[in-house]
Amino acid sequence: MNVFRFELRRAWVNAAVWTLVLTGLLVGLIAGALPAFLESRVAVENMLASFPPAFAAAFGLQLDNLFSFGGFYAFGFLYYSLFGAIMASAIGLDLFSREKREKCMDFLMTKPCTRSRLFLEKLLASLALLLASNAVFMTASMLLYRAYAPDPLLPGRALLAASSLLLTELVFFAIAAFAAVFAKKIRSVSGTATAIGFAGFLLSALYSLLGEEKLRYITPFKYYDASKAFFDGVFEAKYALVGAVLTLALMIAAYARYTRADIPAL
């Protein structure tokens, strides 16, 4: 497991920083704004009173969802997903293109270790980082939930919603690992990771703006929808499946390529 340890040592600082930023944002948003937000519900209800009843009724139904911990949590999720996507992409790119970028493929590939094993150890290191990061995020989420959510508490749902970040990150990790193995050249890990993360963000914003359901198939941020998790207790099977299949397919392709490609001389 020497490769596992090596990769972990090289990549943990970055992951830790991103985790801190992400969790900081989460705590800041919820601790800082949720109470005030929930309080403003009264004002909104009053405002609704002055609207035609049919309209008010239609919107009123959504009020419960909007003015709940879940609603607010999901609202911030777009931004958590952005940071998480960048972090996960950076991990995927960093670990799987390290030797390619630093021109030492020969060094690693002539060690008495199958390529399968090399890939596996890098994968395990990546997963360890992602799991650790999400453990922090999910713990923070649950603690905030306990502290700020009004009764009745449904911790199961909260946990599911928090886990959607991990699952979304896995999609981006797979995309990045795929890119890392197949690209001829990776110039800058942080630059490419930011671009991948922002592309996801953009697709998500587009989906929100246009509202086309079909668009959801190419919106990785919405494969595992946090709000749906909170309100329905499950992810939507269709999209969750797309996310899972995409993740697996990309990783399998990356694995095949990594173990089979010729390594030409520099």
Binding site: C104, D106, F107, M109, T110, P112, T114, D262, P264, A265
Partner: protein, 296 residues
């Protein structure tokens, strides 16, 4: 004693472009085997195929009797590889990289690392990226040898090294060879091959064109003779002399024959200066081509 390396009709095509074609090589255990040829001839391709870095298109390759593709991991635990261009991870000290490298072999290499580093005067605590090319190469040498491999494969190892470093390097390789290691050594600098190899294969345009022992190559080849006389020599002729060239007072030619006849002929002239030497491997090598071309 089996062969350290044995390839049969080894072939590699990069798409349509030829890499190597029908390469037959046998390297015996314990020998130092040179592998020469011009740039682009296929030396690196052959080596990279042996190491499993690229997949062969046809033929077979075996190291210590094990198939290079099927038993790659077992083979690599006994092989040390030093590539021509040395790059390592950023932000690592030499000792960190060497320890990481050692962690792949199931033996304790700390003593060897220290011994090799001392022999090469390598500062292990310096960051690799801050090192000069020579020092980076030293790291590569230690990295290739620290697990006391049975087979050492060197791909143009002395490119970029100064003459002193080259000498140190070859001494090290020879010591490893005395310890029992086999060495496969590719180069297009014929002088170094000539100095330490037992046998040599010549590759050109993807195919092996000759495989001989160094002594053999010299035995059947020429002496280079040149001399300067007080008076211009009218017309110089001698059985066994070829490519006679005369330029004013200087005459030079290649001689293949009885050395006594040559010396007798020379002593019959009044010489200012005379030079009888072994030709460089380069000249032998090139000569082979002339012969072949002439034979055609």
């Amino acid at each position: 004693m089996g062969y350290a390396i044995e390839t049969e009709k080894l072939t590699k095509y990069y798409g349509k472009a030829r890499g190597i074609v029908d390469v037959d090589l046998t390297v015996e255990e314990g020998e130092i085997f040179g592998f020469i040829g011009p740039n682009g001839a296929g030396k690196s391709t052959t080596i990279r195929t042996l190491l499993g870095l690229i997949k062969k298109s046809g033929g077979s390759a075996a190291i210590f009797g094990m198939d290079c593709e099927k038993d790659k991991v077992k083979i690599l635990s006994e092989v040390g590889y030093l590539p021509g261009e040395v790059f390592y991870y950023d932000n690592m000290r030499a000792i960190d990289l060497l320890r990481y490298s050692a962690s792949f072999y199931k033996k304790d290499c700390t003593k060897r690392i220290k011994e090799l580093a001392d022999a090469l005067s390598l500062d292990l605590n310096k960051k690799i990226e801050d090192m000069s090319l020579g020092n980076k190469k030293k790291v590569g040498i230690v990295q290739g040898l620290l697990h006391a491999p049975r087979l050492i494969i060197l791909d143009e190892p002395t490119s970029g090294l100064d003459p002193l470093m080259q000498r140190t390097f070859f001494d090290l390789i020879q010591r490893e060879n005395e310890r029992g290691a086999t060495v496969l050594f590719s180069s297009h600098i014929l002088g170094e091959v000539q100095r330490i190899c037992d046998r040599v294969a010549i590759i050109k345009e993807g195919r092996i064109v000759d495989l001989r022992s160094i002594d053999d190559l010299r035995k059947n080849s020429y002496k280079k003779v040149s001399f300067t006389t007080e008076q211009p020599v009218a017309s110089f002729s001698l059985a066994g002399a070829r490519q006679i060239a005369q330029d004013g007072l200087q005459t030079s030619f290649l001689y293949n024959g009885d050395i006594n006849a040559l010396l007798q002929k020379l002593s019959s002239l009044s010489l200012v200066n005379a030079d009888v030497s072994e030709p460089e491997l380069e000249e032998i090598f090139l000569h082979y081509y002339e012969e072949e071309a002439a034979a055609k």
